[in-house]
Amino acid sequence: MADYRLTFPTDEQHVRDLRAGDSIVVDGHIVGIRDRTQIRMFDEGRRPHMDLRGALLLHTAPNVRPLGNGRYEKLCIGTTTSARMVRFTEGLGIDYGVRAICGKGGLPDEAIEPMRRLGMVYLAIVGGAAALETTQIEEIEAVEWEDLMPECLWLFRVRDFGPLTVGIDAHGTSLYHDVQAEARRRLEALYDRL
């Protein structure tokens, strides 16, 4: 298990270097996104202006204070459960060129194949560790679709963001799948002791 530092947006090669279980710290720019944002993009077919090529998306709905003129001050920014949004994975890769999705709790197995094929990874953050995460987000640089507040598209400038764990890599390995398979195996033995 290696330790990486990576600046986003990035390219396919850097993403393919990562292996499940590796640790990664992120600098650069990442994009906040959530359920309603993606429902608009994929179910309602609207395309945002924000460029998502090579992006790392963060599953979030931040606590912010409006400053006027589309500017927002960060108050507390944390990460939500990713599994609800798994069905958007392939579209994010094909239609938008997204390279990484950061969230909590993992994505179900249906994300494994598109991530392998398209060169994408899932990066696990610690859910609920928002106080720390907020200090690693330097600034909210842009917001799009403010009518979906707080489920807008958010452009964050980050520094030392993490450490994140590669939960699903671009080679078909998912820690979540492996942990579940092992847990199911152990359950069979545990049932005998109930």
Binding site: G78, T79, K104, Y176, L190
Partner: protein, 302 residues
């Protein structure tokens, strides 16, 4: 002011409102010492590399929240209160409810906190963490007392979404209860932000079992049910759940749960309900005691 419930705000009602506003923010920022101790112990015990990374980050996050006076977790939750009302307390529960509602609203606007409450069908945000039947308040009424205990337990959605109910049959017995809890927590995987507190409610009726499961997660961590049979079930489940290997944030490891708490009620001879309600590692709770004279004492341990 609303047409219904209008009237002068009595001083003790204002005291309860202030207490609710304080408790909501306090709970979100400053997690109890028993939880801090449990998280520290979990970090010592964990041996997997991703698991240790997660627990290091959690402990660091709690320190940052203290230092920055920020929320531990961004999910300000759905506001849940537990009230124990003495029969002599000079404020009717209807007024206590209004005070809790205003306190929740004020805390949300003044801090400000993220507003999570939406209409369950239209999904439109209903305002500052209040809405129809929100906040949610659980009541207990006690004789021989004239004071009020109020506990605020903001409940995050990531863990609340991992709630499970099964109407086991009596022949399933205790083994059936254990199996359902194990299956639920393995199925939940990393989604509810483990390691947390598994609340289990057994007996009563379907709705009451879930109510008891939620009551179980609001207990100080590691406390045991006074009924020795139930306490033994808590010990057994705690051990079994940590043998599943789900680990911190579901990335694999030794510590899947910090604790398992069980609350029970007697039930019908034909029923064997089991409810599971998960509390994430950010197990936020904050309590206050309000006297009949309107004096408030905040309690970090309750």
């Amino acid at each position: 002011m609303d047409a219904v419930g209008a009237g002068p705000v009595r001083p003790v009602e204002r005291v309860v409102e202030d207490a609710a506003a304080y408790l909501y923010v306090w709970a979100l920022k400053d997690i109890p010492q028993d939880l801090r101790d449990a998280l520290g112990a979990a970090r010592e015990r964990e041996t997997s590399v991703p698991g240790r990374r997660v627990l290091d980050t959690i402990v660091r996050n709690v320190e940052v929240a203290d230092r920055e006076d920020n929320l531990v977790c961004q999910d300000t939750g759905i506001a849940v209160y537990y009230c124990r009302v003495g029969e002599g307390f000079p404020l009717h529960p209807a007024r206590i409810y209004e005070a809790l509602r205003r306190g929740t609203e004020r805390a949300t606007v003044e801090h400000p906190l993220r507003s999570n409450t939406v209409h369950t069908l239209t999904r439109q945000n209903t305002g500052p963490n209040v809405g129809y039947r929100v906040p949610i308040v659980h009541w207990e009424f006690v004789t021989g007392r004239d004071d009020l205990d109020v506990k605020c337990v903001p409940k995050g959605s990531g863990s609340e979404n991992m709630s499970f109910l099964r109407m086991c049959v009596p022949a399933d017995g205790v083994a059936g209860i254990k199996r359902f809890v194990l299956d639920s927590i393995v199925g939940a995987g990393g989604k509810p932000c483990p390691p947390g507190i598994v609340g289990v409610g057994i007996g009563g009726t379907a709705d009451y079992a879930m109510h008891l499961a939620k009551e179980a997660i609001a207990r100080p961590i590691g406390t045991r049910n006074p009924d020795p049979e139930v306490a033994r079930l808590e010990d057994d489940l705690y051990g079994l759940l940590n043998e599943t290997g789900i680990g911190p944030m579901g990335l694999g490891g030794d510590v899947t749960v910090l604790q398992c708490h069980v609350e029970h009620a007697d039930t019908h001879m034909t029923l064997n309900p089991v409810a599971v309600n998960y509390q994430c590692w950010a197990a936020r709770r904050a309590s206050a005691h309000v006297t009949a004279d309107g004096d408030v004492r905040y309690d970090r341990d309750a």
